[in-house]
Amino acid sequence: MATGAMVVARERATHLLNWTTLSRLLATTLQLGLAVLIVRQFQIESRAFYNLSLLVLGGFVLHVALPAVYRLPFFALLSLTGTLVVLGIGNGLWVLGLGGLLLVLCHLPARFGLRLGLILGAAILLAAFRTRLLPSGIPLAIWPVLASMFMFRMAIYLYDLNHSEKAGSPAQIIAYFFMLPNTAFPLFPVVDYKTFIRTYYDEDEWQIYQRGMQWILRGLLHLIAYRLVYHYLTLDLAEVRTGPQVIEYIFSSFILYLRVSGMYHIAVGILHLFGFRLPETNHFWLFCQSFTDLWRRMNIYFKDFMMKLVYYPSFFRLRRTGNRKAIALALVAVFVMTWALHAVQWFWLRGGLLLTFQDMLFYVILGSLVIYQSLKEAKPGRRRMTDTGQAGWSARRSLNAFLTMGLLMTVWSFWTADSVDQWLAMWSTLSVWPARGTAIVAVSLIGYLAMAGLPWRAPDLSARKPAGLFRPALLTTGALSLIFVVGQPRIYQRLSPRTVAVVQTIQENRLNQRDNAILLRGYYEKVDNGNQLGSQLWEVKEGEPDNLRITETAAFRGRDDFLGGELIPSISTVFKEREFQTNRWGMHDRDYEHAKAPGTWRVTLLGPSDVMGPGVGEGETFEALVEERLNREHRGDRHQRYEILNFGVAAFTLPQQVAMLDQRALEFDPDAVMITFHPASDPPTALRYVTGAVLRGTEIPYPELQGYILKSGVTRTTREASAKRQLWPYANAMLEWSFRQMAEACRARGIPIVLLVLDAINEPSDPEQPLIRYADSLGYIVVDLRNAPKGHDPGSLMLAEWDRHPNKLGHRLLADALYGQLVSLGDTLGLGLKPTSTVSLTNQEEQ
């Protein structure tokens, strides 16, 4: 006898075998399959997201095949599985366990007030674990996910639970808190519980799926556009020199929001594929007509959250004082809470407090503008700012959008700026308008005004009927196919080299030059990059430990002279989770006699951290490996012994290498000198060091360098932002001076000087960097090691995602490359090496 469940299952099977249903399923699956391929092809977000998207693809097909009654439990189960798949079993179990405990507290058989108190107590306890005030063993990686699942949703859920007669089913609650796409997106839309339940399959299922696919497509386009902006438009404040660059800086700092918008579209799109017809998010946000319109269009989910939990309750409490006053006060409450919640969210995601002047001022300005316009709109007989009353292009609409977005972008650029001083100093460059930049700004502005004048608001009521399925499916499939085809190397490699480079860049999920520079700066000084919760850099820095800088360890001491600091001799400490020892001369190296023994070929090697070798043992640095190999394979060729003395000190810039050579390295009677040059990072780091030295009042013992400082007009009392700006025109000249100074010192002693050219891992530099040619013209022997990591996954060569220094394997590859170049240099360095078998250190290791 057939059971009820079997009857339901049979009915669903019959329904699915219908041609119309089958073709719809195939069409949606095809679109989703293409989207997954694009996620892989463009490395969208993270590897975790690709794994999740595979789960979504499989889950969607199975889910559609299920009878309606089993779909929600299936989605809940899939979401739990997704947590384990994306986070790994260990971290996933922590999230499920802690989340489960919070949910148990919500449903204890006690009065609401007591349950609320228990949950607040649990939140305080978790906060103590988060800050490590209390030891817990909870992995750091789970906090962003746990916070994004519970921080806002728990507040909404408790609010609804308090005003509802019955709690949801277990499947509804699990689906709501652990919803499938969440684990891959720590910044996740604040989904409303009642909306989540109310909109579940409240429309034709295929319409919901198709809309989901459209939003996934829109999200992918946003994320691809974000990569273009991120790699080709973003500027560091210190680089802003002209009026057009001010515009570019302001525009690009705001438009990076494309990443959040893209993630939200994809997350909500995925939820549509499982029947949750949630509202549209970030609706044509570049064309907002006013600040109230902006509030309604951008992060709609957060706006709804604030309306529900703060605005309406405040208004209802205050409305006896008069509607306009109540609206104003309720909006003040909304913006104070928005600021506070942003700070709390920052705490859970990053583990520290966000109480900055910039952050507070941003919310004060934004809140004031929204309150002003709301009160204006609240006047009787008001005309809503979203409606200009014209169907076609409208100059007023265009101007409204321009003024609103212009002001917002300016305030936003202040909010996200690394330094208020630098942001203020930027405006002094507005007097410079080069022709090319001005033309680009003018054309872009005309294009924007033309677009902004169109009616981008929600369509008229008559146009809100559901569209058919065929046309949207065809368009979405076409667009996804086009992206996929254009992303194929066989296709795009037929285009110009410049286009090929652009496509390759946007297909990689890596930091841009600016963020790499900030990451690098983080090795030199404490850097906290503004208030950008959605920034890629922040995600990379998420796991960063506290003692990242050598200057914060017992192995380093500062100095008042131009050298600036040094490694302390004969010290043993822990740095980057490895034992870090120095010899009696303050080198991260084995011990050497001061006097060179007869028959010894000795080279002194100068440079920053990748020479010093943080995170690897004393015998594992590339110079130590080469030295060991030379002694093993070439003892007795011409020399009895080979010594490479490591004078590398983390964060040492080229001008400091000059001082190190003068004060220390030449004392050791080298047969050659090697200095290191990082084409991408040395110009800004040298500028920063010299600026700091001037502002600290350090005596600069080099007349030529003093001359540049004098010409720049920078003195000890100049503000830092202005000093950097004034010295910037001399940055190149200061590097050229460093090269000349060291070349002359070696020439005077009759010894060759080698320029080792290195890149930070996964941060390729310009192969034709003019300073390399300049060094070559001064007589440097250029040894370019930038291709050493080629063919290897960059992730396998660096210490950690937040630390681009080479690990053991990275050093081995550098050692192989340097050894190969030393052999090929023949007798240029006076090494006199005889040919030998050239099995690489890396191959030896692999064997």
């Binding site: 005003h163 309306m307 529900k308 309750p313 208004f315 609206i327």
Partner: protein, 87 residues
């Protein structure tokens, strides 16, 4: 007072106040008033004031959402339930 009468009165108010010039036939029982963008937060509060005055009832903050005010039938049901509770 029937649900149809409530819907007719509220529809007239919405058309006159928030959708001047809109074809009355376009505002149907399935039109999404809040998620569809007809009612923003200010308009929602104006509608609340109108309903309270028109039917002599009082709404609570937690009742101001798309479930209760999202469509004309939802509004009618909310008003009816409040009126019944009052009597």
């Amino acid at each position: 007072m029937t649900n149809d009468e409530i819907m007719r009165t509220v529809k007239e108010y919405i058309l006159k106040t928030f959708l001047p010039g809109e074809d009355p036939k376009a505002l149907t029982e399935s039109t999404q008033l809040i998620t569809g963008g007809v009612l923003d937060s200010l308009a929602t509060l104006e509608l609340v004031s109108f309903i309270e005055q028109q039917y002599g009832i009082e709404l609570q903050a937690h009742e101001v959402d798309a479930a209760n005010l999202g469509t004309l039938p939802a509004i009618a049901a909310l008003v009816q339930s409040k009126v019944v509770a009052r009597t």
